[in-house]
Amino acid sequence: MIGHLIHIGYPKTGSTFLRRWFAGHPQLAYQGGGIAGFANVHAIAVQSAAPREGLMYRVTSSEGLAAPDAHAEDGLDSFDRTGPGQDPREQALVCRALAELFPNAHVLVVTRGFRSAIYSGYSEYVRAGGDADLGRFFKMTRAVVDKGRGVLDYDYLIDLYRERFGDRLIVMPYELLRDDPKRFALALEEQLGLTHHPPDVRRENPSLSPEELGWYPRLARVVRRLPFGGRLRRRLLARQAHDPLPRGLRPLAGLLTRTAPSAAVSPALITEEMVAFLRGRAERLRGHPLYLPYAKDYLL
């Protein structure tokens, strides 16, 4: 029997690396954006007529499954789209939809320690054109928690999926992938009963540099204040959503970064106290062998 592995995220936990590995592994069938390794339903018929030998799992992968965005097309403020908050109700609906459609699937969740996840989340927010500095970003994140929206609530997500998928839920730390990709792949292969396929350790989609994180939000604020007409502003902001800055301002950002590096926003600025409000959201990971070296990252 060929199994189905659904990789649900979280965002910024090495998804690009994993997808490259899925695509290269001879015992896995993966198609970017597709479902169960199929680009569309036609591919089921075609691949069944000419099946691939040795296949053990078909793979579906989207980090949006752990952090769904029901309003992606509604043009909400970029913080809502890219901030670290997740709506628990939306997470539950996606989990139920997956369980209803694919009740026999294995589910892979990759988590990331809180400080690093917040820092990376800030980088994503800035990439998407966010103009808040780190301090305001934290305040907005806290406000999200106060409004009842979840933030990196691993226990909640694990309970959701454990209830529907039982022992077929696999939870792994991003930190292992970051420190030792080969061991990460071996651990996943062991859980799925796969033979070893070495991962390609090329790094893609790296976070913004601390200097860029310092300057981009400031420049984004300037761009937003420029006296454009409505149409031009909309076009510029739409472009900004795909690119941290309008292309014409990139050299300026580079120049500022070189001349005033003191504005850098480094991971060290995020202290343990700042993320203390997230304590108690990763208790299900306590005692998990793969998480023992990273207990501090998860405030365990």
């Binding site: 479902i35 075609v46 000419a50 109700r89 009740p103």
Partner: protein
């Protein structure tokens, strides 16, 4: 509000057969507000990102639909041209059918299956029409010979009893809906009402326009001969490929109808009709739809489905 308060839509997989009103059904799936359908997608989702976004909104529809008629007749390629040459794959086979059923059962064990059948004579003729539209150069006798060979080897894809048993075993007999194309052809509103009844849906009217009429008998005779003539011309690969694309497009839209009328006047040929289906083939197909015999909707269709003991017209 807890997500547990909301009723989740179920999943219906429409697997075919080809030439049994799939385009009609897909238009109905698409327009029906109680159904969530996306052409070529899975359960109404084109991509996994869409599943994440729309799945998280909840869903007011009653059923999520996957629909592709080729699921019950899988082949290695559905492209009319392969490497610049016409794809002459005419039939699926039992082994591939079995693999698709296994795969769907493993992936979507909770789904309901919709199978639309069609009486053998019109199914053969219409399948030939589809092959001709795709640029096939096979004549009708050659087509029937190829099918008969598969039937003799037990590898043809038209063993309705086998397909029904296979899907009933994989999904449960209660999760298999089998309906006759003849009902859709004769009374599309009744067909839709029957399907709605089986799915517990509120009524939504059927579309009324016909999308892709089959080719006429004369056209079925001449298109393959034109295709063969064009293939015999000594062109370079590139020019031949362009010519094949032109012919495929012309056949698909029946653009050569005036030329064929002229050819028919110059040299009258016997139109291709189901009367040309050899009795040796129909006799081999007899008794392969016995599971339909007891279904009320098939009661008057014994001759179409070649039930044992019912004489063919």
């Amino acid at each position: 509000m807890s997500s547990g308060d909301e009723r989740l839509p179920r999943h219906l997989i429409h697997i075919g057969y080809p030439k049994t009103g799939s385009s009609f059904l897909q238009r109905w799936f698409d327009a029906n507000p109680h159904l969530h359908y996306c052409a070529s997608g899975f359960a109404g989702f084109a991509t996994v990102a869409e599943l994440a976004a729309r799945g998280s909104r909840g869903d007011a529809s009653s059923w999520r639909i996957t629909s592709f008629e080729g699921l019950v007749t899988p082949v290695e390629s559905f492209n009319p041209l392969e490497g610049g040459r016409p794809n002459e794959t005419l039939f699926s086979n039992r082994t591939s059918q079995d693999r698709v059923c296994t795969l769907l059962g493993q992936l979507f064990p909770g789904a309901k299956i919709l199978l639309v059948t069609r009486g053998f004579r019109t199914l053969i003729l219409s399948t030939y029409s589809q092959a001709v539209r795709r640029g096939s150069a096979r004549t009708f006798p050659e087509f029937c010979d190829a099918l008969e060979k598969l039937v003799r080897e037990g590898e043809d894809p038209y063993h309705f009893d086998w397909v029904i048993e296979r899907y009933a075993a994989a999904f449960g007999a209660d999760n298999l809906i089998v309906l006759p194309y003849e009902l859709l052809r004769d009374d599309s509103q009744a067909f839709v009402a029957e399907l709605e009844n089986r799915l517990g849906l509120e009524h939504f009217p059927a579309p009324t326009d016909r999308v892709l009429p089959s080719l006429g008998g004369e056209e079925l005779y001449w298109y393959p001969r034109i295709s063969r003539f064009l293939r015999g011309l000594s062109f370079g690969d590139r020019r031949r490929r362009r010519l094949m694309i032109w012919h495929w497009r012309a056949a698909r839209r029946n653009r050569l109808r005036p030329v064929i009328s002229l050819l028919q006047r110059v040299r009258e040929a016997r139109p291709v009709t189901d009367a040309l289906i050899p009795s040796s083939l129909t006799e081999r197909l007899r008794g392969r739809s016995e599971r339909l015999r007891t279904l009320p909707l098939y009661a008057a269709l014994g001759r179409d489905y070649l039930f044992d003991g019912d004489e063919a017209e």
